[in-house]
């Protein structure tokens, strides 16, 4: 035996001709400092097992083809340096596996072709917001989509992160003038978190439209992910970096007297409690004291007489409402239900449900999927019992679970409110 230090490499392999097709194989590899994941794969293929399949090309972090899961984290194999500890390697999630670590990019390529051909409707980003110098660094390794809990379903709805940067980098023109209005200067400011910015943008747009019509001036400062996915997965430093960036961006607006509103209950909870609590950011106290959940904020506007709900007409659909856990955690009741119930004739039933099962990014993980479905089954059963026309919740992931589980259309309650408000002729031109 040589004196070289060896370590174990567990590779989750896949062979469609084998029974069972998924299996884990262990290889013993000699370690040397500066060793990368790709080097390990090449050495195994060269000296131990030439049947191992994986992709790579440039070996210098430019082609973006060698991404794999290292200990459950998506990495670029040619760039990831190992420390000599045992490792587990698997194929990148969310794309169909062909063999071993090779995933198919066909579906992604088809989606990009569809976007290229139908380009005007594909992207709704104002050109001024596109940072070409930055986006053009994208090598389309799709690690962002693999890592992003929100990216799970985006490819079927709206462009997911990797597709967006691919399109912009490829020179597909972004729309002029579409997207969310961004200026304003009186007494309010809205934080539309990533789910609403990238995945299901309608609630963000409806929020801005409604607030704007009620005479509230809205600004959308530059912002990042609120950090909850990192908190949920134990990366407190990563969460803190995002929180600090958001703080830096929002503080000038707070100083000008703006409140901060989030249209997502996860975001509002994060701003109110987690920045100061879990992350221990003293500087976030000012932000926490001025942060509102959107429903809570609208309830105040109604109390102030800005919006007369009794005059609005109901929407025709029968709705079932699911309460997000992150709303319960805020202990502010169910403000949207209160508001919608005050519109005469509105048919809204509040379901007696607990967690939808997704629980942040938990249920978005491949290995947790089955358990997550089991946890959320009661919600799907409740919807099957009620048979509404529409399933309603403030939370994007809750909506996702309801829509995927039942096939029902889903909406954020602000969209219902905006629809009721916008369709009422009396309300047109009231404030604006």
């Amino acid at each position: 035996m040589t004196s070289a230090k060896t370590f174990q490499v567990h590779i989750q392999r896949y062979d469609p001709d084998r029974e069972p097709p998924c299996y884990t194989q262990m290889y013993q590899v000699d370690f040397h400092p500066s060793m990368t994941v790709l080097e390990v794969l090449e050495l195994i293929q060269q000296d131990q097992d030439s049947s191992l399949a994986f992709r790579s090309s440039c070996r210098s972090s430019k082609c973006g083809t060698c991404a794999v899961l290292l200990n459950n984290k998506p990495v670029l194999a040619c760039r990831e340096v190992l420390d000599g500890g045992d490792i587990t390697l698997a194929a990148l999630p969310k794309l169909p596996i062909v063999r071993d670590l090779v995933v198919s990019q066909q579906e992604r390529e088809q989606r990009l072709e569809q976007i290229a051909v139908e380009q005007p409707r594909a992207v709704a980003l104002p050109e001024s917001k596109v940072d070409y110098a930055n986006v053009s660094r994208c090598i389309e390794c799709t690690i962002c989509t693999a890592a992003c809990p929100v990216g799970y379903e985006m490819d079927r709805m709206e462009p997911r992160p990797d597709l967006l940067s691919s399109m912009i980098g490829a020179g597909i023109p972004v729309s002029q003038g579409e997207g969310v209005p961004v200026e304003g200067n009186i007494d309010h400011c809205s934080l539309c978190l990533c789910f609403n910015s990238y995945s299901y943008t309608q609630p963000a747009k409806d929020t801005v439209m409604l607030l704007d019509r009620l005479g509230v001036h809205v600004a959308v400062p530059q912002q990042q992910c609120c950090g909850m996915p990192m908190v949920g997965n134990g990366d407190l430093d990563g969460a803190r970096r995002r929180a600090e960036a958001n703080l830096a961006s929002f503080l000038p607006w707070l100083e000008q007297g703006y409140d901060v509103v989030a249209a997502c209950t996860t975001g509002s909870l994060m701003l109110k409690e987690e920045y100061t609590g879990t992350l221990g950011l003293r500087a976030a106290e000012a932000l926490a004291s001025r942060a509102y959940d959107l429903g809570e904020y609208l309830r105040i506007l109604v109390e102030d007489g800005l919006l007369e709900l009794s005059k609005l007409k109901p929407v025709p659909e029968r709705m079932s409402y699911h309460t997000p856990c992150h709303l319960k955690a805020q202990r502010i009741g169910k403000p949207f239900v209160e508001l919608l119930e005050r519109i005469p004739g509105m048919q809204i039933e509040v379901l007696d449900t607990i967690c939808c099962g997704l629980s942040g990014s938990y249920g978005l993980k491949n290995e947790k999927h089955d358990l997550s479905l089991a946890v959320g089954q009661h919600l799907l059963d409740a919807l099957a019992q009620s048979q509404p026309d529409l399933a309603v919740s403030e939370c994007g992931p809750c909506q996702l679970r309801m829509r995927r589980g039942t096939g029902l259309p889903t909406k954020h309650p602000v969209s219902i409110l905006w629809q009721a408000f916008d369709e009422d002729p009396l309300c047109h031109g009231v404030q604006k």
């Binding site: 790709l38 030439s50 062909v98």
Partner: protein, 563 residues
């Protein structure tokens, strides 16, 4: 076996292949695009850092004539001059077109293009997008291919070009994406498979650059041009292993030492030291290594620890990449050796990209003629745009007029039998990767930076040995063809041996030192430049000389001495 009908088949999807596909589609043909890896991801284009072009933006005094002269003098008069003329005249049209498709070159505060100075160019004329113009090019070209809904399929390795009545009739490929042998019937085929860097142990090229297109073309009867012209970048890392072949631009500012702590360039170039030309630097480093003054990992030391900090700002990517692996070049010396970088030889083509077999086209690094004996910085990205477009357009025109060939059933069946016979050969002693290592060691020793007749003759016999004795010892998994990378790797090795034989044959025939080719036994340049063409005749390689096409500039007629 699946069969497809197309007008134009494009093999390879770096910049040249994608541009050819786009032009062929615009020409009205039904285009099929196939790549061994992912579409538009695997070629060398992705790593390209600059594109050279003259245009209305050029500096005063610079124009197409100056770039022409630079390119021909740099290429040691081996260039095909009508092709160089087209390169320097048409690059600007492609630049403008690429910008209309969404490419955004770097511009200064005045709105004008940023133009970089590069070796061998008389004026600054290399256009960039930070350090990633190649990456942006393939993104834009991929998108244009999508817009035209060109049929593109990854994971297909071309195994043989089909010939019917002396003309191209399509190709047989191994589609590991679905696990089948496939046949594409097409009267026109464009080869855009890139260079040969993987024939050497240290290379800056992507792993797919195994010379497949050259082997395919040779076996189909095409002529290969100046196969001995392999450009070595003087300073590529040899350690750590994960960065083997990673080339270092900081070399221009650093000092080189051998294992005896001697700044050896003082012996070779007492005045210029490391500031001599790249080929001389490469030869000096190579000599130190083979004469036993190399480092533990087979290189020499590159010492950049005295280079001012601000100089590193221009080499941020390479500095960071090395530092992240534990090699901070501001603190430690690195081990470097020449790395195979670019291949000037290739399939002989005319100004339309036509090879010597009717219906066969080639573009980019797989083709020969444009760059002569040495390629200037930025000229390769210009070449893929200009000649990719030309090959695609001409192939579409040819396909329109061509008689649809009768599908060649017999050849297809033979390839399928051969492939099915190969897989599941589990009792071999070596893996395909180990076989490749053998070939690379041999090429480095005999057909690398410095060559001589005796070594090349030895290489010729050893290559026959590899072909006849090593190949049958390679083991492969199977029987499934689905993502069977051992089979792909074996087929690559077979191509690599074939291409290595043409390089050695051509290098033996060139009994002089010219361009990137250096013969210790013939260290001088011959008085009259000549090209070498290699063909396969009756199973034997044949090398023949012919004069280069010097339609404008002859040695001695221009202001030489740019080197």
């Amino acid at each position: 076996m699946r069969r497809y009908e197309a007008d134009i088949l494009v093999i390879g999807t770096g910049g040249a292949g994608l541009y050819a596909a786009i032009r062929a589609a615009d020409g009205g043909g039904r285009v099929y695009v196939r790549d061994k890896g992912l579409i538009g991801r695997g070629g060398s284009t992705v790593g390209g850092a600059g594109v050279s072009a003259v245009g209305p933006w050029s500096k005063p005094g610079d124009n197409a004539n100056v770039q022409f002269r630079d390119t021909v003098i740099g290429g040691a008069y081996l260039n095909d001059q009508p092709m160089v003329r087209i390169l320097v005249e048409e690059a600007q049209q492609r630049i403008v077109e690429m910008e209309s498709w969404g490419l955004k070159f770097d511009r200064g505060p005045d709105g004008r293009y940023v133009l970089d100075q590069a070796g061998g160019h008389s004026y600054p004329r290399v256009m960039t997008i930070s350090d990633r113009v190649g990456l942006q090019m393939v993104k834009v070209l991929r998108n244009q291919a999508r817009l035209r809904q060109i049929e593109r399929c990854p994971d297909v390795m071309a195994c043989r070009l089909l010939i019917h009545n002396g003309a191209i009739a399509g190709a047989i490929g191994l589609d590991v994406g679905v696990g089948e042998v496939v046949q594409v019937n097409a009267p026109a085929v464009v080869l855009a498979t890139g260079g040969v860097g993987q024939l050497y142990p240290s290379t800056s090229n992507p792993i797919q650059n195994t010379g497949d297109g050259l082997a395919l073309a040779l076996r189909a009867g095409a002529r290969l041009l100046n196969m001995e012209q392999v450009q070595f970048y003087p300073c590529g890392l040899v350690h750590p292993p994960s960065l083997r072949g990673f080339i270092l631009g900081i070399q221009e500012y650093a000092a080189l030492y051998n294992s005896e702590e001697e700044r050896f360039m003082a012996r070779y170039e007492p005045e210029l030291l490391e500031h001599t030309t790249r080929d001389r630097l490469a030869r000096a480093i190579f000599t130190e290594i083979v004469e036993g003054r190399g480092t533990a990992h087979g290189g020499v030391y590159l010492d950049a620890t005295d280079v001012p900090k601000e100089t590193f700002l221009s080499f941020q990517h390479e500095y960071e990449v090395a530092r992240d692996r534990g090699f901070d070049m501001q603190l430690v010396r690195l081990e470097v050796a020449p790395a195979a970088h670019y291949f000037m030889g290739g399939v002989a083509i005319d100004i339309s990209g036509c090879a010597s077999v009717p219906g066969l086209y080639a573009a980019g690094e797989v083709s020969g003629g444009v760059q002569g004996g040495n390629r200037l910085s930025g000229n390769s990205l210009a070449e893929i745009l200009v000649f990719g477009a030309r090959a695609g357009a001409h192939a579409a025109g040819y396909a329109r007029g061509a008689i649809r060939p009768t599908p060649e059933q017999a050849q297809a069946a033979e390839v399928e039998r051969e492939i099915r016979g190969l897989v599941n050969r589990r009792n071999g002693r070596l893996t395909p990767s180990q076989g490749k290592q053998r070939l690379r060691r041999l090429m480095w020793q005999y057909a690398g930076v410095i060559r001589d007749g005796a070594g090349l003759t030895a290489a010729r016999y050893e290559l026959i040995g590899l072909e006849q004795e090593l190949l049958p010892q390679i083991s492969m998994s199977g029987p499934s063809l689905l993502q069977n990378h051992s089979l792909v790797s074996y087929l690559e090795l077979k191509n690599m041996i074939t291409v290595a034989q043409t390089i050695v044959q051509s290098a033996l025939e060139r009994q002089e030192s010219r361009g990137a080719h250096y013969r210790q036994d013939f260290p001088e340049e011959a008085s009259t430049p000549f090209c070498i063409e290699v063909t396969l005749e009756g199973g034997h390689l044949r090398a023949a000389r012919r004069p280069p096409v010097m339609s404008e500039l002859r040695p001695g007629s221009g202001e030489e001495g740019a080197e």
